[in-house]
Symmetry: C2
């Protein structure tokens, strides 16, 4: 044929090398890979700089919008990555970084991830994923069974059924929540008489047909922000995501829920979905799922449980009672990249009824043909990677009892830390750990007394100062770079629902030791006590209050 | 303190090892990793079995819905993965697998992916991603500049602006398209007087306020199926995704577009978005973007370009003229996991106007605080991995001219293959390659003559038989396991818009050689000629027609 020469010229040949010739083991990248394999934590410790560089400084390294006109050697670029990206990334797996939901990863997941990426399957259809499709269906089956405990014949019947789906694997909890509410919306506004269903005719026709003035989703005021996004995307409107009051444990009040539902109904608004939170993002509390389920059933609402965080607790036979009622949910969100210790990008939504997802099913000519088992016909996303393999492998290597141990130890550790904080005279526990999350703040011992004696105005001022102090502690600790806790704002009943800044910890990293917990609060105490501006203000007002008291 | 003993028991200690002790280099997993590093293609060739196993057989390996109660050794599980998952996965990077949009990956991406996964950053917020946030913003800036070619001061001003976003990185083209249409919908139904905007009040109130009976999105009949999903999710309704006729080159007819718009308007339906396709999934054709842009501007519609496939062509100075007009789009979708050779899970949407995404912006108390540069305030997804790093690195290592070479060679190869097919007396080219996609089918030489002489009924029957033959060829070739082309159905003008099954190839893999192309059609010819049922039927009817002809 001889015509190859025309197509392949010298430059192209050199370019082909990057597709055919691997990095040499003694190359910069080869070396790094080896170091990562030998001691990941040491690598991260050595390469992530502890001290915080201001973002504006970091941005200077990422300022050029031009795609380079000259290629860079892999080794040179790797060095550049180490200096600019790796060094200023976040050491999410450090045992003293207990502010995130991202924890250490089991070692075996690194090489397995490499296999997954090298295989580069696309789960949208069997044609580009083959064994990965039944594998993902099995993973969904496992999680479904973990929640709903149906018998073997159920899974034999439905797990690999072409026309059905026990759920959807997706990039994370947000897409999972949107998917659940999408299904709920479409089932609530399904085809009826001349009306062809919301999926075909759209929301306006649907509401005209059903005679609703609005559609509402109800969730506790501690619901995840992704739900607001879902209400927006789905055309429901953020104001129709109705926040329901919580009790002193950040759990939805079922009486308030019932009242809200009645209110909505008198306004001609159809409550079509109620969400129970199983592990609030900020405090890790769990809504009274059984009570909510009963209300949802009575009101014929879709009952969704957002267990993105808490779902993994079902692995613990000792603690799964905490999520009692989750088996009554129509759908459940679980994030495997949280307490199932999978790398970022592994969310799932499960549906009790294998037919529930019919209302969002879609087909096309060249893909997802009817009757095919292509997973893409039931997912919001299109092309997707084979992340499910990592869940599959972890389930087998760690096993359920292994996960149980991890969960149990996390909860024990959180209990320990809560008790430790209570023993300190200058700390205040704000939320008790129900799972492995808790919140607290630093309050000087004298100030704790002063808070009891303060006038309403003084209380407000003192509270504001304490918020400033909490923020100062959190930021300074992060900037010191040795450890990290996060912060949020709560409205605790104890403090008359005033906005209260709190330190928040998530104790999911199995490498976090008791010593680390002790040193973290020790560091916070020192930061507080040496804070140059806030503490003096607090102490001044404290003394004014305390000095006045004996006279009154 | 001594209390550690209570928390850490022996079983937990052994479990801790999986977080602290890496796989030994001589372990099964260590060995595989080394093999992957040394010769990925050889590994895949050795471990992916060529012959196709029926899905029902594969499913037997993935039938157990129970999460294992006993842990498995990593080595044992790895062996299991090799035998059940890897062996029956799809060799997406094989040079003879030219039916997918998934191609070979540059070698350097394997170790880089490992770094990315080991760092396990969460791009939703700076707190969990730090340097990865400006890095992703730079990647978005690079792609924005590739499309819109704004000057340096533009990028200096907007690329890292807290209140703005040049786009969103996401898991793939589907989410990118949904995001673009979400923004378009919210901007079309924005706050106005008493009305607080569709994001707050929902679609029903929005349409009541604006007095629309419906909202429509227009796209050519060759638009991607994800758009139907978008129309459903966003509450627009699939029937309001209006398909516009295409010409004989699968390109949208702008006259038909204008007619449809007028029709919709007389019905009180608001056309709010027009989509131009830059690289149709089935044939790789590009809509007349400039014409569409002019119509969109006149009609005050959002103009979105779905360049999930074709966008990478902008890297080629030689061929970027093919996408002329893309710079007029309000938003553009590009998939980096297609022709930018990034692993699965790297999509992007870019917006011309840095303020466009305001309409979908969201904030929360503990995350995405106002004024923060957290990327999560402008994404549909929540938690996301650091995939942008792989795009960043490829841009630097391959560089624009490197990508240009890859694109140019792909187009040249497609041109070569099209010419090759035309030279065969028993093949018929159905769609000419505009990018590196083309479609064709096998039609025996005699039958090609017969098609010209057939009655309307005979033509229909013959056509049906040929469709069966095409399907048979495609399936048999896939089952043989040496090579893979995909298939779809088109309605070519040449064949009176009858449904026509065609073989489809995507020539993006730089490792695909001319010899491979020759051997692929040779294999197809042999399959066709030895097909036991279909070919005889075709030849019988062919001879009936041809035998009759000399008489007529």
């Amino acid at each position: 044929m001889g015509s190859e020469d025309k197509i392949v010229d010298v430059n192209f040949e050199s370019l082909l090398r990057i597709f055919t010739v691997p990095e040499a083991p003694d190359s910069t990248l080869g070396n790094i890979e080896q170091k990562l394999s030998q001691n990941l934590n040491q690598f991260l410790r050595e390469h992530i700089v502890a001290e915080e560089k201001p973002l504006s400084e970091i941005e200077k390294d990422f300022a050029d919008p031009a795609i380079p006109e000259l290629p860079t050697f892999v080794s040179e670029h790797t060095q550049h990555l180490l200096e600019t990206v790796v060094s200023h990334s976040v050491h999410t797996s450090a045992p003293s970084f207990i502010g995130h939901m991202t924890s250490a990863l089991p070692y075996f997941l690194m090489p397995l991830s490499k296999i997954m990426i090298a295989l580069n399957q696309n789960l949208v259809k069997i044609e580009t994923s083959k064994a990965f499709t039944p594998l993902e269906r099995q993973v969904l089956g496992m999680l479904h069974r973990l929640i709903y405990s149906q018998d073997d014949s159920f899974y034999q019947h439905w797990m690999h059924s072409a026309q059905h789906s026990l759920g959807a694997f997706c990039s994370g909890g947000t897409i999972a929540n949107i998917t659940a509410l999408w299904v709920a919306r479409n089932n609530a506004l399904k085809a009826d008489g001349d009306f062809q269903g919301v999926e075909k005719e759209g929301l306006f026709n649907a509401m005209m047909h059903y005679g609703y003035k609005g559609m509402a989703i109800l969730v506790s005021e501690r619901g995840h922000y992704s739900l607001k996004k879902a209400a927006d995307v789905l055309g429901i409107g953020q104001q129709n995501l109705v926040a329901v009051k919580t009790d002193h444990n950040n759990r939805l009040c079922s009486i308030a829920l019932e009242q809200k539902i009645q209110q909505l109904k008198t306004q001609g608004i159809k409550p079509f979905a109620i969400i129970g939170v199983a592990g609030t993002t900020e405090t890790g509390n769990i809504d009274p799922l059984e009570k909510i389920a009963a209300i949802a059933q009575r009101e014929q609402c879709h009952f969704h449980v957002d267990a993105a965080w808490g779902g993994a607790t079902l692995m613990s036979n000792q603690h799964r009672y905490l999520l009692k009622g989750i088996e009554l949910a129509d759908s459940v969100t679980i994030d495997a990249h949280k307490q199932l210790y999978i790398p970022m990008g592994a969310g799932m939504v499960l549906f009790k009824d294998p037919s529930a997802m019919h209302s969002i099913e879609h087909h096309a000519e060249y893909i997802l043909r009817k009757g095919s088992k292509d997973l893409g016909s039931h997912t919001l996303e299109g092309s997707r990677s084979g992340m499910a393999m990592l869940v599959y492998s972890s389930m087998h290597i760690i096993s359920r009892p292994g996960y149980e141990l991890l969960i149990n130890e996390s909860l024990k550790k959180a209990r320990y830390f809560a008790d430790l904080i209570k023993k300190q005279l200058d700390f205040e526990l704000i939320s008790e750990p129900e799972l492995c999350l808790l919140t607290y703040r630093y309050v000087p011992q004298d100030t704790q007394r002063a808070l009891q004696l303060a006038t309403a105005d003084e209380l407000k001022t003192l509270h504001q100062y304490l918020n400033e102090l909490t923020q100062f502690i959190q930021k300074s600790q992060r900037e010191n770079g040795r450890s990290f806790v996060s912060r949020t704002r709560l409205t605790p009943e104890k403090w008359q629902r005033m906005e209260t800044s709190v330190l928040r910890v998530v104790l999911a990293n199995p490498l976090t030791t008791i010593e680390i917990l002790h040193s973290i609060i020790e560091e916070q105490r020192i930061i507080a006590q040496t804070s140059p501006f806030v503490l003096p203000k607090i102490m001044q007002l404290t003394h004014i209050i305390l000095d006045r008291d004996p006279i009154e």
